[in-house]
């Protein structure tokens, strides 16, 4: 039955080459922990992607309850944490995932760096990877404000004050992020929009480019 459905679609759309391009590729011996245990260092990139998927899924569920305004934001998070079934798990996964993704990405970066895997012809993929790192830090910074509790507000105040010291760009960045003079209602909605729409869009685009390049070039050879 499934095969028949597949054939029916495949006859019309010729999907076999599409998914074969994505999924059908060789895994060389030197990256396979089944053959060389030390190859576990190649797991970190995949785990970064895995946590990113969890972050997107848990974030989607969090927005079902979260209200991005200064009157209700904290109350909605408190409700989510204490009243909603499994709310504490979903918020916990998003909270810890934010830290774990930084750790995994850091280890992945170190692996690529110390193996010299960023060298020709993979320069562009390294640059895109560093951009992903910055986007992740941006997601961490904007997400920290959203619960609208004490540490969120004051850490963001300090962060924006630090950004203000940068000449020319600083004040522009402040206006863009805070939406005015004070860290308040406008700031929260802006951080919400940046955290939920702008940065994830950038992240998905960059990750698409990252994966496209690795599929095109293949993984770097053994040292």
């Amino acid at each position: 039955m499934l095969q028949k459905i597949y054939d029916w679609v495949d006859e019309r759309l010729d999907i076999t080459p599409l998914w074969r391009d994505v999924a059908d590729h060789e895994v060389p011996e030197h990256v396979n922990p089944a053959h060389h245990f030390s190859a576990f260092v190649y797991c970190f990139g995949g785990l970064t992607f895995f946590i990113t998927v969890i972050q997107i899924l848990s974030g989607m569920f969090l927005t079902m309850y979260y209200v991005p305004d200064i009157v209700n934001a904290w109350e909605s998070v408190y409700y989510l944490q204490n009243e909603v079934a499994f709310g504490v798990i979903v918020r916990g996964m998003h909270h810890w995932g934010a830290s774990l993704v930084i750790v995994m990405m850091f280890l992945h970066t170190l692996r690529v760096f110390f193996q010299g895997a960023y060298k020709k012809p993979r320069e562009l993929n390294w640059v895109v990877g560093v951009l992903i790192f910055f986007v992740m830090l941006g997601l961490g910074f904007t997400g920290y404000l959203l619960p609208w509790d004490m540490k969120a507000l004051f850490a963001t105040k300090v962060g924006i004050e630090i950004a203000m010291t940068i000449p020319v760009v600083g004040p522009i960045a402040k206006t863009f992020l805070a939406g005015g003079e004070i860290i308040g209602a406008q700031t929260l909605t802006r951080f919400f929009a940046i955290h939920v729409f702008f940065l994830p869009a950038a992240l998905l685009g960059l990750m698409g480019a990252h994966f496209l390049m690795i599929r095109k070039q293949g993984i770097s050879g053994p040292l």
Partner: protein
């Protein structure tokens, strides 16, 4: 695959009518013990992912994600702390030559050089050698960066007042009857300015929850003040109102 003249298509589409059998590529000619990603290797990755997920969930359940009390911009005494992965940048600004007049060194020059070099690493380290030991400058600079980040994060953690951090943002769970005549008097008087709408205190007044004071003692403080913050004669109203207010406050207890 059939190319050029005589190609057949499905209907008027651009999909070729000739079917390719759906068989995986042959990897036997690749060097070493190559394995197919789909489905062999993916299954192993899936298992590693499952084990990782279990650890992740245990972490989530053991350590509940923190939530402090609702943001109160008037609390000037709060010591802020960013998330842990920003601590090294935050700590950098506490050093003399990266703060004050030299703040640009701490906010722009050092992070700019470090992250700029990271981003441009492939163009700075152009040699063909890949082994870390064969490119000592790149390896050395990265190790220096790692040590600096670790040291700064460590310094930031040990100099932070964790005891105070634990209490300063704590959610104070109080429930009181907002229709209590005592609370209405509290709101009308100047009390609310310093002790806050929820009686939990603020920048210039302490919390009034769970003071353990008797109504008479509260009446005395309201009239005579309590140095240094509480001025005398703060309460302006009748003795009846003062008594109601004092009884209301003395009943407040932390849950």
């Amino acid at each position: 695959m059939h190319r050029g003249k005589g190609m057949k298509f499905v209907g008027d589409s651009r999909v070729p009518a000739e079917r390719n059998p759906n068989i995986p590529k042959d990897y036997s000619e690749f060097p070493g013990k190559t394995e197919a990603f789909w489905p062999n290797f993916l299954l192993k990755e899936w298992m590693v992912g499952a084990v990782f997920l279990i650890g992740y969930l245990i972490l989530t359940i053991v350590h509940e994600s923190p939530l402090e009390k609702k943001a109160d911009p008037t609390d000037a005494g709060y010591i802020p702390l960013p998330d842990w992965y920003f601590l090294f940048l935050y700590q950098l600004l506490k050093y003399k030559y990266a703060a004050g007049d030299y703040v640009l060194i701490g906010t722009v020059i050092i992070p700019g050089l470090a992250f700029g070099a990271l981003m441009l690493a492939p163009f700075l380290d152009k040699g063909l050698e890949r082994r870390p030991s064969k490119r000592p400058i790149a390896t050395g600079l990265m190790l220096l960066g790692l040590i600096s980040v670790t040291y700064l994060t460590w310094e930031s953690v040990v100099t932070h007042d964790w005891e105070k951090a634990k209490t300063q943002g704590k959610i104070v769970d109080v429930s009181f009857d907002e229709n209590d005549p005592g609370y209405k008097i509290y709101q009308k008087q100047s009390c609310v300015g310093c002790h806050g709408n929820t009686l939990t205190g603020g920048a210039s007044g302490p919390s009034l929850i769970g003071t353990g004071l008797k109504p008479e003692e509260i009446m005395k403080i309201a009239k005579e003040g309590k140095p240094p913050g509480m001025p005398p004669n703060a309460f302006k109203g009748s003795d009846d109102e003062l008594k109601q207010l004092a009884e209301f406050i003395s009943k407040l207890e932390q849950k």
